[in-house]
């Protein structure tokens, strides 16, 4: 199939337009965080750093940042542990019920967030009678963050040669020594990438969070949602939104550089790095 020059140009223009469509709204939020006009009409009327200062001084925002960080860190640690164990058992062993567990793992991201959210909310409040808090958010986040770690680790395990571990065992290393000296060093970058993805996922998660967070607690996305409809808070909301964009994109960018594995959208496997 040979495309004519004009067809290629048309496709290129369409691609550029779609990318423009993807980036313009995000750029608008960034620009508005420096917009001196309180109503944020377009075009902007002047440049100011006032909103960034205000956001920095706001105790509500600071508290929300700390809660978000705490939730994201704890959820990431739990999901690193569970995701790695799960990947090891599903990749290295064949057992009864393996396919079921394989399907189970992707369920938390295959079903819409609202389903996961209400299922956990119902579980905590009606069935167990546990009061909602930041801990319930951590449990909810760890459940779906586990999937990103699992995906990264199992992709790496598939490419690792089992011969190295066998050699280590033959040379007299115990199970733990082999893991610490042979397996873990090979997994390190996959774990870092999975952990960064899990962190970013948890840091800006909103849907499941609204269903599992205790009254009076706020994470950064919850803070945005609460202040979104208050006109006098609009400037600070813009600033917080920019912070959210940066905090979620930077870890992803790093993860991408680190992993070198194919990129997954929880699915679609892309082999961008293999060529």
């Amino acid at each position: 199939m040979r495309l004519s020059r004009s067809a290629k140009v048309v496709l290129g223009v369409v691609t550029a337009l779609v990318l423009l469509f993807i980036y313009t709204p995000l750029m608008l939020v960034v620009v508005n965080s420096f917009n001196a006009d309180r109503t944020f009409g377009w075009p902007p009327k002047g440049f100011t750093l006032e909103w960034w200062g205000k956001a920095f001084d706001s105790p509500g925002v600071r508290e929300a940042v700390l809660s978000s960080l705490w939730v994201a860190v704890v959820a990431t640690v739990i999901s690193l542990l569970l995701g790695t164990l799960l990947a090891l058992s599903l990749q290295r062993y064949d057992f009864f019920g393996r396919d079921v567990i394989n399907l189970l793992v992707i369920l938390p991201i295959a079903l819409p967030g609202v389903v996961t959210g209400i299922a956990l909310n119902n579980m905590f409040t009606t069935i167990l009678g546990v009061p909602l808090s930041l801990w319930t958010v951590v449990i909810a986040h760890a459940t779906f963050c586990m999937v990103t770690v699992f995906n990264n680790v199992i992709a790496r395990l598939r490419r690792m040669s089992p011969g190295l571990e066998e050699a280590s065992a033959d040379l007299g290393a115990g199970v733990f020594a082999t893991f610490g000296l042979v397996t873990f060093p090979q997994l390190r970058s996959a774990l870092l990438a999975g952990g960064l993805l899990a962190f970013a996922l948890s840091f800006d998660e909103i849907i499941v969070t609204t269903f599992t967070i205790g009254a009076g607690e706020t994470t950064l996305p919850i803070w945005i949602l609460q202040n979104l409809f208050r006109p006098n808070q609009a400037p600070v909301v813009n600033v917080v939104a920019v912070v959210l964009i940066v905090v979620s994109i930077v870890p992803i960018w790093l993860a991408q550089k680190l992993s070198g594995d194919s990129v997954r959208v929880s699915g679609a496997r892309l082999k961008a790095d293999e060529r």
């Binding site: 691609t15 944020f40 058992s89 115990g174 990129v263």
Partner: protein, 309 residues
């Protein structure tokens, strides 16, 4: 000048003792002997977590849908009834909301498919290798930017005196304002990368030689596209639609932010968990998107799309 090579002083003699050896550890030895024990040690925690937290929660959700709420105390009472399910299925209000949600999800899916096909084709088959890599990252990055921020960004774009009005005024167009159209637009925007990536991966897997062969045999580009590419792409396209369709079906944040008074299944669920405090009814409503998604997955499972997820 001749370089002088300095000889390094001889290090300590290397002997087998330098290799880290496992201390004789009974537990480690036991694990080594029994693969079954090793598996149990690995699997118990994560599988237990998934089953106890997630599967139990889904099962409980299903059961709760058949319970009711005590109108006086507001507590959930475990009296069995099919009333919630019947209301969701037969009340015209909820039928309308279900149809509207379905319509929004289908519209979003179709819009994303139309936008994603040319860009995915361009990235996979037209762009040079260097550009291909750059473009994939460019599509991937905003995928991870917060969903909430993206919906919020569109609230700004659609606002009175916002960017869309500024762009549209010279053309005689106006912003659609907050409502159903805004929800469709915003959701199409948010889920677009989820459609582009699987389709791109699908195009990428089609070997160039196949396209060349088709061209050599006299097919015009459009014929090649219809007869060679499209049949090979169907699983990838369906994989993309699973994302856009299922994610739109469960949405409620976007509907809240740009939807004005637009009600979707997700907003009904949220309202019944929060303000109305009727968890059994919320559970019953949430079974609708689950059933629709399961039905959709059931239809498409034979296309091989599920392996593309």
């Amino acid at each position: 000048m001749a370089q002088r090579i300095q000889q390094l002083p001889p290090g300590p003699p290397r002997d087998a003792g330098a290799v880290p050896r496992a201390k004789t550890n009974a537990f480690s030895a036991l694990l080594h002997r029994s693969p079954r024990l090793r598996l149990a040690a690995l699997l118990t925690a994560p599988a237990g977590w998934l089953v106890l937290v997630y599967i139990a929660a889904l099962a409980a959700l299903l059961i709760t849908a058949f319970w009711t709420v005590d109108t006086f105390t507001g507590e959930v009472s475990t009296v069995w009834t099919t009333e919630n399910i019947v209301t969701v299925l037969t009340d015209p209000v909820y039928q309308r909301i279900t149809l509207r949600t379905l319509w929004i999800a289908v519209a979003v899916t179709v819009i994303d498919m139309i936008l994603a096909l040319p860009i995915a084709f361009f990235i996979a088959k037209v762009a040079s290798a260097r550009w291909e890599k750059l473009l994939v990252v460019a599509v991937l990055m905003p995928l991870w930017a917060s969903y909430l921020v993206k919906a919020y960004a569109w609230r700004n774009v659609l606002a009175e005196g916002g960017l869309l009005e500024w762009l549209g005024t010279p053309l005689g167009l106006s912003s659609p304002g907050y409502g159903e159209t805004a929800v469709i637009l915003t959701l199409s925007y948010i889920w677009l990368p989820y459609m582009i990536l699987p389709i791109y991966a699908g195009f990428d897997r089609v070997p160039d030689s196949l396209l060349e062969a088709s061209g050599d045999l006299g097919a015009k580009p459009l014929t090649t596209m219809r007869l060679v590419m499209l049949p090979l792409l169907v699983p990838s396209i369906i994989a993309g639609t699973i994302f856009t369709f299922s994610l739109s079906l469960g949405d409620y944040i976007t509907a809240q932010i740009v939807g004005g008074t637009t009600q979707m299944l997700g907003t009904v669920v949220y309202a019944n968990v929060g303000a109305a405090n009727n968890l059994p009814f919320a559970a019953a409503v949430s079974l609708v998107p689950i059933a629709i998604i399961m039905f959709y997955l059931f239809i498409v499972r034979r296309s091989g799309a599920l392996n593309n997820l």
